[in-house]
């Protein structure tokens, strides 16, 4: 099987075409523009966090490749109802997975369907596409207005 089929699976192609939560939250608690300086792609992440620390709504908008769009779309569906602390630890797991430090086939994770993105570790130039939305999420949680994938 060729590498790309592992990455461009039907689920990812579907989220690319029909991204979930692709909208502005006008009165979002936080929002952050994520930016990948190497390719110029950027997305804006919107976040509502309740007093209890629970993410009540999360959405995104912007421009990007299938990988970054599908990743943003799946991330937003996955995060709703989770606490911001959980979100932070999911960021770490996701990040470790895409850079190849965490292998969901042999190690336990809390990433559920998001493990689909493990294929990206084979494409060093695309890792930042998969993690763009996550960087924006972290930026929003840290109350920054912009974040880059350069960290």
């Amino acid at each position: 099987m060729s590498r790309s089929h592992e990455l461009y699976q039907q689920v990812i192609l579907d989220h690319n075409k029909n991204p979930r939560n692709y909208r502005v939250i006008p009165d979002a608690t936080y929002s952050c523009e994520g930016h990948n300086p190497l390719c110029g792609d950027h997305i804006t992440l919107f976040l509502n966090v309740g007093a209890d620390g629970i993410i009540s709504d999360v959405s995104f908008q912007g421009n990007g490749c299938a990988i970054s769009k599908a990743s943003a779309s799946m991330m937003t569906t996955f995060l709703k109802g989770k606490s911001s602390d959980e979100a932070k630890s999911l960021f770490k797991e996701f990040h470790d997975m895409v850079i190849g430090d965490l292998d969901p086939d042999v190690q336990e994770t809390h990433l559920g369907k998001l493990t689909l993105f493990k294929g990206v570790r084979e494409y060093s130039s695309r890792i930042k596409c998969a993690s763009l939305a996550w960087h924006a999420l972290m930026g929003a949680l840290e109350k920054q207005v912009s974040a880059t994938t350069e960290a």
């Binding site: 461009y8 490749c65 990988i67």
Partner: protein, 419 residues
């Protein structure tokens, strides 16, 4: 047509092909980023390191004398390539980027005053934008931008209006790396001269000098700096079959002589004391420190290779491929060509409806096709055409119609996947 794939080792090996599979040949379509190297260049450098390596311009032993001779000989070859008046007009740099920074820092800092104007075009590479932005911060000069039409052609009537007595520097590329537009630089230089009588005998007299960014032209067409009447011409070795780490700045003698040093260090001085230091004449004034010795020698071999192919034959070959490729791509309904100037070099920049350029790049790579996807270090060009990025196939003399056939087939497959 040329048939020279055999000269390029990387184009003759198979990639991938683990687990019993035979592997794939490489369809290399990213020559605008960097060209592959012919065997003669690779072997010249290899042999030099094995047999003749020594420092230059300093040693009194034969190893160094011979290295110096080879090193200076490349300067003569570059002068010949450009039809420069003398090899003293050829400055070695680390690449186009450094060549332009050198002019911005040395010429710009000395001659630009607040309110002076620098004219750039909309379709410049960042290397011909950011140095000027940095220098305007230091000098108070301002940047004006020559617009392009929807084909990616500079609008000369607007350029004419922007040329005023405040114009000090015009800096444009000969060929746009993002669109392939060939700019009418000879005409543009003529217009700059008429609008603003610059006297090269007296460069302190105010007037506009013209820098041409030749990164995308010099290995694709004949360039004659005297016929163009360019004041500066900048390019990179690695985009003309030479090694990385070496570039060229051509500058007219009288102008180079009027310029202060850029970087300080060994070999660019006449006499150093802590009280006062005096500098060498150009080109050495601008070449501080141990230079890219072996890269210069490799560039010499690349120039021999270019001469052997012949720039006319290269231009004809690439032009035929450009026509062929344009036709093929135009048959794909989902494809939009970005950059459709009547005068174009062999660069095909495009978008596919519903597929981001990065995905195109990754999926074509599966077929052994290497293209570039992104903003091509030309974000203002992307902004002008309302796209965040494009996919770009760029050709060299080693490409053939099979490379373009593979590209078109690969694109059709991607459209299927994303449908």
């Amino acid at each position: 047509m040329l048939n020279i794939k055999a000269d390029f080792p990387v184009l003759n090996r198979l990639f991938g092909g683990d687990a019993g599979e035979p592997g794939m040949a490489l369809h290399y379509l990213d020559s605008a980023a960097t060209t592959q190297k012919p065997l003669s260049v690779i072997e010249t450098m290899d042999r030099f390191y094995r047999e003749s390596y020594g420092t230059v311009r300093r040693g009194v032993y034969r190893l160094s004398e011979k290295a110096t001779a080879e090193y200076e000989n490349t300067r003569k070859k570059v002068a010949k390539l450009l039809n420069a008046a003398s090899e003293k007009e050829i400055v070695y740099t680390s690449g186009t980027t450094q060549s332009i920074n050198l002019v911005a820092y040395s010429y710009g800092r000395k001659f630009l005053k607040p309110g002076d104007e620098i004219l750039l075009s909309t379709i410049e590479h960042h290397a011909n934008i950011v140095p000027w932005q940095l220098i305007t911060e230091m000098t108070g000069a301002v940047i004006k931008v020559i617009p392009v039409d929807d084909t990616g052609t500079l609008i000369l009537s607007e350029y004419a209006k922007l040329l005023t007595e405040r114009t000090r520097i015009v800096a444009v590329n000969h060929v746009s790396n993002a669109l392939g537009t060939i700019n009418p630089v000879k005409e543009m230089i003529r217009m700059a001269r008429q609008a603003n009588h610059f006297n090269p005998q007296d460069p302190t007299r105010r007037g506009a000098v013209v820098l041409i960014d030749g990164a995308q032209s010099v290995s694709h067409m004949k360039v004659d700096v005297r016929d163009l009447d360019a004041d500066f011409y900048a390019f990179s070795g690695h985009k003309m079959f030479g090694p990385t780490g070496i570039g060229i700045l051509y500058g007219k003698s009288a102008i180079l002589e009027s310029m202060p040093p850029y970087q300080g260090g060994g070999d660019m001085i006449e006499r150093v004391t802590f009280a006062r230091t005096t500098y060498q004449k150009p080109p050495h004034r601008f070449e501080a420190g141990t230079p890219a010795i072996v890269e210069v020698v490799g560039l010499g071999a690349a120039l021999d290779y270019l001469a052997h192919l012949g720039l006319d034959r290269i231009a004809a070959h690439e032009n035929a491929l450009l026509q062929y490729g344009t036709r093929l791509l135009s048959e794909i309904p989902e494809l939009r060509l970005i950059g459709t100037a009547p005068h174009k070099a062999s660069i095909l920049s495009f978008t596919l409806e519903g597929v981001h350029p990065h995905d195109i790049g990754t999926l074509l790579d599966e077929e052994g096709i290497a293209i570039r996807a992104g903003h091509h270090c030309a974000q203002p060009t992307m902004d002008r055409f309302g796209v965040p990025a494009t996919a770009r196939a760029s050709l060299g003399p080693y490409n053939d119609t099979a490379d373009l056939d593979a590209l078109a087939a690969g694109l059709r497959k991607i459209i299927e996947v994303f449908r």
